[in-house]
């Protein structure tokens, strides 16, 4: 039994939440049962992701085929160190946000289907992290989009419908670009399996079709991830949702786009020499700068944080653009740190709202005196986001900036440092306005913040402090993950099997325009 569970470790992080989502939908009229199913499902999912992480760390890349179809033809699931880390962090965040949601999500929102949609979204996020098939990745993206749309309109307010409209139009457009890129890739190579594509593309001559496909992938994932200049939908929609939902969106959804970029541009396409690197460098700098400038003029906590998502995404893309193992390790570390910290800041914003009744910084204040615990809990992720030692953000920024100096991109390192300073400015603005200054107006009594809200904030804060004080194992993990990304041999062998030579290949005969199966001897 145990062997059976370990053998299929890569399946459970998707199987558990989808089963929980189905059960939650079955009990549509019973919110109490839904809550129970949801909590049990989230804890089991955390367990499943832990199991996957341990298995991958011990036995290397895990891969499974569905429906007994041999590797390049059917749908594969595969987990290397990066996927396992992403799934792990998803599990942690899901439990933390789920617990926070118990105190924050209103009855009406539960009634509109919060639990099935939330679990469905987690299913699609894990599916996107684990799939080894590029078209399957598109399917997970669409499921993510549908469930995210459902979560965004949960409250049915005017602002939410407005935000959803912008979110849906741009994200639908981005998935169309993604689909177009997949189609071109299939036309050029005849395969959809990412490991197989990696093998085929390594020996294919560069062509206009492939360059176009790569550019479309970058644009499609770029809209999802919120790259400059396509990030406008993000600050226009994220703050409209209920804060629990904003937190999970802020932590995970854009990072799925970033993850997809990492997967596609390390496994399949070379960044060097195709002109992609130059484009990526400019995009990364623009993303960092415009995100942080946008945040500087905002007064709504949620909007400030939304703009900071954009600016932080720039650091991750910076690591990918430089593409040395050190830079990719830095970016992987950055993603993990960022997911925890950013989601935590949104949760703190929710707690601030609970205490003061407003998200507008100009109207709040005095929390330092009335709620010192919350103030301390805010300081941890805020300082970490700004990149001050000794918290996780310092190491993340240090690794990325160090890598850009070593990669010879001095001006990018300068931009990154400058953006760090402005981030500190934004965080100190929230600190001064919400916590330090005397509260304006007559309302003096801050409402108490429920323990169910403080608990996840404290837990995520503890993780931030742990990463900050003993970064060594995490950096080693990130370096190992970067190593498998730069040299995907192990990934390819795990998915396609030991005989990852040419094997069975399908090619097209241009004369008859029909597929021919070229059987080659398998050693």
């Amino acid at each position: 039994m145990i062997d059976f569970i370990i053998e299929h470790a890569v399946v459970w992080p998707v199987a558990v939440p989808i089963t929980a989502a189905a059960l939650a939908a079955m009990f549509w009229l019973r919110q109490d049962i839904q809550r129970l199913v949801s909590m049990v499902g989230l804890v089991l999912m955390l367990g499943a992701s832990l199991l996957l992480l341990v298995t991958v760390m011990q036995d290397g890349v895990q891969a499974r085929q569905f429906g007994s179809w041999a590797a390049p033809f059917g749908i594969s699931f595969a987990a290397d160190l990066l996927s396992a880390a992403m799934v792990m962090i998803t599990g942690v965040l899901a439990v933390a946000v789920g617990v926070f949601g118990l105190a924050d999500i209103r009855k009406r929102e539960e009634h509109s289907g919060f639990h099935p949609l939330f679990l469905g979204m987690l299913t699609s996020v894990n599916g996107a992290f684990l799939t080894g098939d590029i078209f399957n990745l598109y399917v997970w993206f669409e499921i993510m989009l549908i469930t995210a749309m459902g979560l965004l309109v949960l409250g049915k307010t005017r602002a939410q419908l407005d935000g959803t409209l912008k979110y849906a139009v741009l994200n639908l457009f981005s998935t169309l670009l993604f689909l177009l890129a997949v189609a071109i890739l299939y036309g050029a190579t005849g395969s959809l399996n990412m490991a197989d594509l990696s093998r085929i593309l390594a020996t294919t001559e560069p062509s206009a079709a492939l360059t176009l496909s790569a550019a479309l992938f970058l644009a499609g994932f770029g809209i999802k991830a919120g790259y400059f200049p396509l990030f406008f939908w993000l600050p226009a929609s994220y703050h409209t949702a209920s804060i629990t939902i904003s937190a999970i969106f802020a932590g995970l959804l854009t990072k799925v786009g970033v993850y997809a970029c990492f997967r596609v541009f390390t496994l399949m396409f070379e960044i060097e020499g195709s002109g992609l690197r130059e484009a990526m460098v400019v995009i990364a700098a623009g993303t960092m700068l415009f995100g942080v400038f946008g945040a500087a003029v905002q007064w709504d906590v949620r909007r400030i944080l939304s703009f900071h998502i954009v600016s932080q995404i720039g650091y991750m893309l910076l690591g990918l653009a430089i593409a040395t193992p050190l830079a990719i390790a830095g970016a992987v570390f950055y993603i993990v740190h960022h997911i925890i910290v950013k989601a935590n800041l949104f949760l703190v914003a929710g707690a601030i709202y609970r205490a003061t009744g407003t998200y507008d910084l100009r109207k709040s204040g005095g929390l330092m005196r009335t709620n010192p615990l919350l103030a301390a809990l805010f300081l941890i992720p805020a300082i970490s986001l700004a990149g001050l030692p000794p918290l996780s953000g310092f190491w993340a920024k240090f690794l990325v900036i160090d890598a850009s100096f070593q990669g010879g991109e001095n001006w990018l390192a300068a931009v990154a440092l400058f953006v760090g300073v402005l981030t500190l400015y934004s965080m100190s603005k929230i600190w001064i306005e919400a916590f330090w200054k005397a509260p304006p107006g007559v309302r003096q009594t801050a409402r108490p913040v429920p323990v169910l809200m403080l608990l996840p904030i404290a837990a995520l804060g503890a993780i931030t402090v742990t990463i900050g004080l003993s970064p060594e194992p995490f950096i080693q993990y990130a370096q190992a993950a970067a190593e498998t990304l730069v040299n995907p041999e192990a990934y390819i062998v795990a998915v396609l099997g030991e005989s990852a030579g040419p094997g069975v290949e399908i090619a097209f005969d241009p004369a008859t325009a029909s597929p021919i199966i070229i059987e080659e001897s398998v050693q």
């Binding site: 598109y138 989009l145 419908l161 409209l165 457009f173």
Partner: protein, 111 residues
């Protein structure tokens, strides 16, 4: 055949992009649908065009040269199903937005 398909994809894309840039929500959703039809046709093209050939092999030993590539058909089918669900859901959101704001302008108010 190739020419007809290219013209069809081009027309659909051009109309889709134009509608996408219009200010009315209904135009936007039709624009997105047209764009997705264009992409679906394009996927078909990527499987190489064949007339009068089935995509399903009949038993072992049949010559694959007599059949069309089944993968793009499966991809298009999946994309259509997902696009259909997306459009339906989007339509509900748009109608709710129109009910709440009283206008079908994408900004939620007339200029």
């Amino acid at each position: 055949m190739e020419l007809i398909l290219s013209i069809a994809i081009g027309t659909l894309t051009a109309s889709g992009v134009w509608l996408l840039l219009r200010p009315r929500t209904f135009q936007v959703i039709i624009g997105l649908s047209l764009l997705s039809y264009a992409v679906n046709l394009f996927i078909f093209g990527m499987g190489r065009l064949r007339m009068d050939a089935a995509p399903i092999l009949e038993g072992a030993g049949s010559d694959p040269a007599n059949y069309a590539d089944p993968v793009p058909q499966a991809l298009v089918l999946t994309a259509i199903v997902i696009g259909f669900a997306m459009t339906a859901l989007f339509l509900v959101v748009l109608l709710a937005a129109r009910g709440l704001t009283g206008t079908d302008h994408v900004d939620g108010r007339e200029r």
